[in-house]
């Protein structure tokens, strides 16, 4: 199965019923699947922090939101993760392409790529690395942990996922 379809199915089968997205070249296939299937409400947003706000509001109305974004957008989301999601115990799943890691060609991605895992650890967001096709079921685990613990989680999708399978 196509890796993007596999990731999509895993997200859908985990109960996610709202996706907020900021595009990334690594996520273009997945975004295309989301748009074609039209099974999960998808709202593109202008900035990652905005997505955190929409996700929080939707959770208050019993939706299960996930944010699809590039890890670079973590930088502008940290205050909202702490002073909105954490204090009210609103769980949101962040599904991020991990730019600035192995195989990266864009120099500007490197600093944030390297800082992303320690930043997530620093703000107490449990992080799951999806590096190979065998790791994809972990996405479901992560989304369930998020919902049950009432704490946001991050899922980092690595470039190798697409390199190997396409």
């Amino acid at each position: 199965m196509d890796i993007d379809v596999l990731i999509y199915n895993t997200i859908k089968n985990s109960g996610v019923d709202l996706i907020l997205s900021v595009p990334c070249a690594m996520l273009k296939g997945l975004l295309q699947v989301i748009e074609e299937k039209k099974e999960i409400l998808h709202i593109p947003v202008t900035r990652e922090e905005e997505a955190v706000g929409i996700a929080a509001g939707a959770y208050l109305g019993n939706r299960v939101p996930a944010i699809l974004m590039q890890n670079s957008g973590l930088g502008n989301s940290i205050n909202a993760i702490k002073s909105l999601l954490e204090i009210y115990k609103i769980p949101v799943t962040f599904i991020m392409s991990h730019r600035g890691a192995e195989g990266e060609q864009v120099i500007a991605q490197m600093p944030m790529g390297q800082a992303t895992p320690p930043l997530l650890e620093c703000i107490n967001v449990k992080t799951y690395f999806i590096k190979a096709i065998k790791d994809v079921p972990v996405i479901k685990t992560a989304i369930h942990v998020c919902q049950e613990s009432m704490q946001s989680v991050a899922i980092l999708l690595t470039r190798s996922l697409w390199k190997v399978n396409k």
Binding site: L60, G61, N79, K82
Partner: protein
């Protein structure tokens, strides 16, 4: 008219509307005037009131949602206006109480006290229904009008905070009673 006078007028029309209110003095004044389970008081994450409101609108499409935001905070999240105008939730009334200052941090001027016009920004973002209210007595009639679709309303007020206390509720308490009020 100051902010608290505008909020007082808004509370007059409330029945079962869900209200999302930006942090600092706006939330504190609303709490002081009319606390209710349907009020979601922001305590942090400045700028996100309109985004949280959009999320609530999507999830509770059968309920009217009123967002009480400020000029300083909406200026932090102008992209939100483009998202909201395009999603265009028919149950949202986005109210900006515009006093031209960052009221909760010492009344430093915002750009709406200079050249910037929020109603024109909303027009460019794609809102269809835009109103600017300058008189206190016009607030209730305008909010009571049955206008279909997503509304953007700017209420122009003078700077100044009311002498109200901090909100004594714990954030989880605010969330839980708000969620229960959605049924």
């Amino acid at each position: 008219m100051k902010r608290i006078d505008a909020i007082k007028e808004i509370t007059k029309i409330l029945t079962d509307e869900l209200v999302i209110c930006t942090l600092g003095f706006p939330a504190r004044e609303l709490y002081d005037l009319k606390d209710r389970a349907e009020n979601f008081y922001m305590l942090g994450s400045m700028g996100l009131a309109s985004s949280i409101s959009l999320g609530v609108c999507i999830a509770a499409s059968n309920r009217r949602v009123i967002c009480i935001d400020g000029d300083g905070s909406i200026l932090m999240n102008l992209g939100s206006l483009t998202t909201i105008a395009n999603v265009s939730p028919s149950n949202l009334c986005l109210i900006i109480i515009d006093n031209g200052t960052y009221g909760s941090t010492g009344d430093q001027k915002t750009y709406t006290s200079m050249k910037t016009r929020l109603d024109l920004i909303a027009k460019g973002a794609g809102f269809d229904s835009i109103e600017v209210v300058e008189r206190e007595e016009d607030i209730v009639p305008i909010l009571s009008r049955n206008i279909p679709g997503c509304r953007f309303i700017v209420i122009k007020v003078n700077p100044g905070n009311a002498p109200v206390e901090n909100i004594p509720l714990h954030p989880e308490q605010i969330k839980e009673r708000f969620m229960r009020s959605l049924g």
